[in-house]
């Protein structure tokens, strides 16, 4: 299983959990599994076409998936997947 780090704005979908463990061999599969356990979360991460939204980034370990294989990036057991949204607050 891989561990997905859930950013604060999306924890309302995971009952407040910061980390969720899912099965999946690619980012696409991992996100699908995450959506099953946290319905509604995928729409915040991906657009209508299924692509990762441009203000969100996903890392497998330290690697930006845009430098790997995007949604087909391989995820192995024990990998840490980070969903990182652009945060704009500051006031």
């Amino acid at each position: 299983m891989a561990t997905i780090r859930i950013p604060t704005p999306l924890r309302k979908y995971t009952q407040g959990q910061e980390e969720v463990q899912v099965n999946g061999g690619t980012i696409e599969q991992v996100l699908a599994a995450l959506e099953q356990s946290a319905p509604g979360i995928k729409e915040r991460i991906c657009d209508e076409s299924g692509k990762v939204r441009r203000f969100v980034n996903i890392f497998v370990g330290d690697e930006d998936i845009r430098f790997l294989d995007n949604l087909q990036s391989v995820v192995k057991d024990g990998d840490e997947v980070s969903i990182v949204p652009a945060i704009a607050g500051g006031r």
């Binding site: 780090r5 950013p7 604060t8 704005p9 910061e18 915040r44 939204r53 441009r54 203000f55 969100v56 980034n57 890392f59 330290d62 930006d64 845009r66 430098f67 980070s82 990182v84 949204p85 652009a86 945060i87 704009a88 607050g89 500051g90 006031r91």
Partner: protein
């Protein structure tokens, strides 16, 4: 490592207040503070430069008073300006050489706008943001991953979540503001801090460091240095 030199701090709110104190503590010689807002009571929870007596006062003026009281030698230039596409260019054009910018506003689009403008002028900057329990910051210089290398664009207005709507914990902006000041001082000292994304979740006390790569063809920074 001392902070010497001039800094431009855009936003004198939750991030800007601790960032200003961090720059002062690090030995900054001159700071220009830019914000158009006034102090309000609900700011006081996290905008640590202000007091009840400052309510109604322009933030840049109140911040200048507080900083001068701590460091009379520090040259402070308060600028009560709403930073946008029209005002940003002239603001950056009048900066002294070797200025480092700290983007501490809460406008998603503004963060990208400021970054892009600074990169075009080869002005080093630190961009930070904090909401709810989490904050993240990134020092940006040409040749290293920039904000658009990591997040191609800001969220659209209907998906933006301002702090006024979702809240922000004081510890998150406090930590991030001081971190932004430290990153700015580190940039001036030539430390290799640019490009990485530093984040912390203050609810779980979980820090995170990401090392994104410059994205080929990035419209802001041009991608990897040759």
């Amino acid at each position: 490592m001392t902070g010497g030199g001039h800094y431009l701090v855009i936003g004198a709110g939750g991030l800007g207040c601790p960032a200003l104190l961090g720059l002062l503590a690090a030995g900054a010689e001159a700071i220009t503070i830019v914000d158009h807002d006034v102090v309000e009571t609900h700011n006081l929870q996290r905008q640590i430069l202000y007091t009840v007596g400052d309510v109604g006062m322009a933030k840049v003026e109140a911040a200048a008073v507080r900083l001068r009281a701590r460091a009379p030698h520090l040259k402070i230039t308060p600028r009560r300006v709403k930073v946008d596409a029209d005002s940003l260019g002239p603001l950056l054009a009048e900066l002294p050489p070797h200025t480092i910018v700290l983007e501490c506003s809460d406008g998603p689009g503004l963060k990208f706008l400021v970054q892009d403008a600074c990169l075009a002028r080869q002005i080093p900057l630190v961009v930070g943001g904090a909401q709810r329990w989490r904050g993240q910051a990134q020092a940006v210089v040409r040749g290293q991953a920039c904000l658009r290398c990591v997040f191609e664009e800001p969220p659209p207005p209907d998906l933006q979540e301002p702090c006024s709507a979702v809240g922000v914990i004081g510890a998150a902006v406090g930590l991030l503001g001081y971190l932004m000041a430290h990153l700015a001082v580190s940039l001036r000292a030539g430390a290799a801090v640019a490009g990485r994304v530093w984040a912390i979740d203050t609810r779980t006390l979980t820090p995170q460091e990401l090392q994104p790569r410059p994205r080929a063809g990035c419209p802001a920074c041009g991608g990897p240095a040759d």
